[in-house]
């Protein structure tokens, strides 16, 4: 199956436009440490940035990022390019690990902590300073502009906040089904605006 998206996503990462992340992953699966190092260099800003954004605590985020890359190394052979881009595979893995970390911490401390206290006050500044110049940053920003304010809000709480859709609904004072609908509609709009994954 030929995809435009894997190439375009991979190309827009910094420094080495010619390198395909998928090809690097395939080399990793054979135990090629140099290719793994290159993959790390190409992707670690994005992986760590996402993990840090979700987990917040820098020390824990560092642990999660480390776990993510160990899992990448161990499971590179399981990446199947017919199912999506290498970047999507990697970021899915990173997001899931980050979310697992915050949720298991919550579950473990649920007896002595008020659940999500203060969550409303969390600032979600998702615009990075240095990213403005890149083409992809513009694409993402333009695509995000296609979302309604309420879609963006629900999506950001879910993706960057690591909250479940029911938690998002409670935070935003919405009926339960509404947050999941906003998240999905927002993602579909984002996908269509970016022209990826179709």
């Amino acid at each position: 199956m030929s995809h435009l998206s894997p190439v375009s996503s991979g190309e827009s990462l910094p420094d080495d436009p010619g390198t395909s992340l998928g090809a690097l992953l395939r080399r990793c699966a054979t135990g090629d440490e140099e290719c793994f190092a290159e993959l790390y260099d190409l992707t670690s800003r994005r992986v760590h940035g996402l993990v840090l954004r979700v987990v917040r605590d820098p020390a824990q985020a560092e642990e999660v990022t480390q776990e993510v890359y160990l899992q990448v190394w161990r499971t590179a052979s399981r990446y199947d390019e017919s199912k999506g881009s290498a970047l999507a595979w990697l970021m899915t893995l990173a997001h899931r690990r980050a979310v697992d970390r915050v949720r298991s911490a919550e579950a473990a401390s649920r007896h002595d902590t008020t659940y999500h206290q203060g969550a409303h006050a969390v600032p979600h500044d998702t615009t990075a300073e240095g990213a403005e110049s890149s083409i992809e940053a513009r694409r993402v920003r333009n695509a995000l502009a296609e979302l309604t304010k309420v879609q963006r809000e629900a999506l950001e709480l879910a993706y960057f906040g690591g909250y479940t859709h029911t938690e998002v609904a409670t935070m935003l004072d919405l009926p339960v089904g509404t947050a999941k609908t906003r998240i999905r509609d927002g993602l579909i709009r984002l996908r269509d605006a970016m022209g990826v994954g179709q």
């Binding site: 800003r45 560092e62 999507a88 899915t92 479940t164 993602l187």
Partner: protein
């Protein structure tokens, strides 16, 4: 959870793509996903979109992390492609849904392959089942916890739920097992016998222990030769006494 009808379940694809489903919904949706090519395609497409979202929050990891990661991978063997898995059929040739169904079944049984495979056979898909299982135990109303600082650094907790009949080990910053060794997890029976409950490699992990923990009196961790042992060959580096669980 009332998402029994197909339309509602289908509508969970977006929340699933951003890991925003509750543990129970996730299990349900993964069962649905296994049999729904439309949802598979949609989830894949939405994940492409989310991968770009993270572009806006990029941040440099600490430079020391690179060295640690590169040192770590030297001690970890990459998994073989799935065609060489121990499963009797050629897994790669199976449609996605067959594999997902297998994982869903694994998740439903809370069973994670056999001894020795808790960590090593995980991939992004089986992780989902494992995490849901762990979540369910951690969130059980009768979950009780024992936490210990590890001598070699880091900490570990075991959470056991009698109603779930299972225990979960959560480690934070546990040093890697020595070369050619592995950490083996154990459940102690009321008679005092240690029963193998899986293997792990250290680090910061959440692992569901193999086996029924309903009547276990304790959980333990020992250092064993790679591949694990039938019974402990060394003194435990950690022993979690369920009597002391809170």
């Amino acid at each position: 959870m009332s998402s029994g009808n197909a339309y509602e379940i289908h509508a969970l694809s977006g929340a699933y793509a951003v890991d925003a489903l509750d543990a129970d919904e996730k299990v349900l949706f993964e069962q649905h996903l296994a049999a729904c090519p439309a949802c598979q395609a949609e989830v894949a497409g939405l994940r492409e979109a989310t991968a770009s979202l993270a572009q806006s929050v990029e941040a440099d990891p600490p430079p020391t992390l690179r060295d640690r990661v590169l040192a770590d991978i030297r001690t970890v063997r990459p998994l073989p492609p799935e065609v060489e898995s121990e499963r009797p059929t050629k897994v790669r040739a199976l449609p996605v849904r067959r594999r997902l169904t297998a994982f869903a079944v694994a998740a439903a049984l809370l069973g994670v392959a056999g001894v020795g495979t808790v960590v090593w056979h995980q991939n992004s898909t089986s992780d989902q089942g494992r995490t849901s299982a762990a979540d369910r135990i951690l969130r059980a109303s009768d979950a009780k916890r024992v936490s210990l600082a590890l001598d070699g650094g880091g900490s570990a907790s075991v959470v056991r739920s009698v109603s779930a009949g299972r225990a979960v080990l959560i480690t934070r910053g546990m040093p890697s097992a020595p070369t050619d060794k592995v950490y083996e997890l154990w459940l102690q029976t009321p008679a005092g016998t240690m029963v193998p409950a899986g293997l792990m490699s250290g680090g910061s992990r959440t692992v569901v222990l193999d086996g029924d923990a309903t009547n276990a009196t304790a959980a333990g961790i020992t250092v064993e030769p790679k591949g694990g042992s039938e019974s402990p060959t060394t003194a435990p580096i950690a022993l979690f006494d369920f009597e002391r669980a809170t």
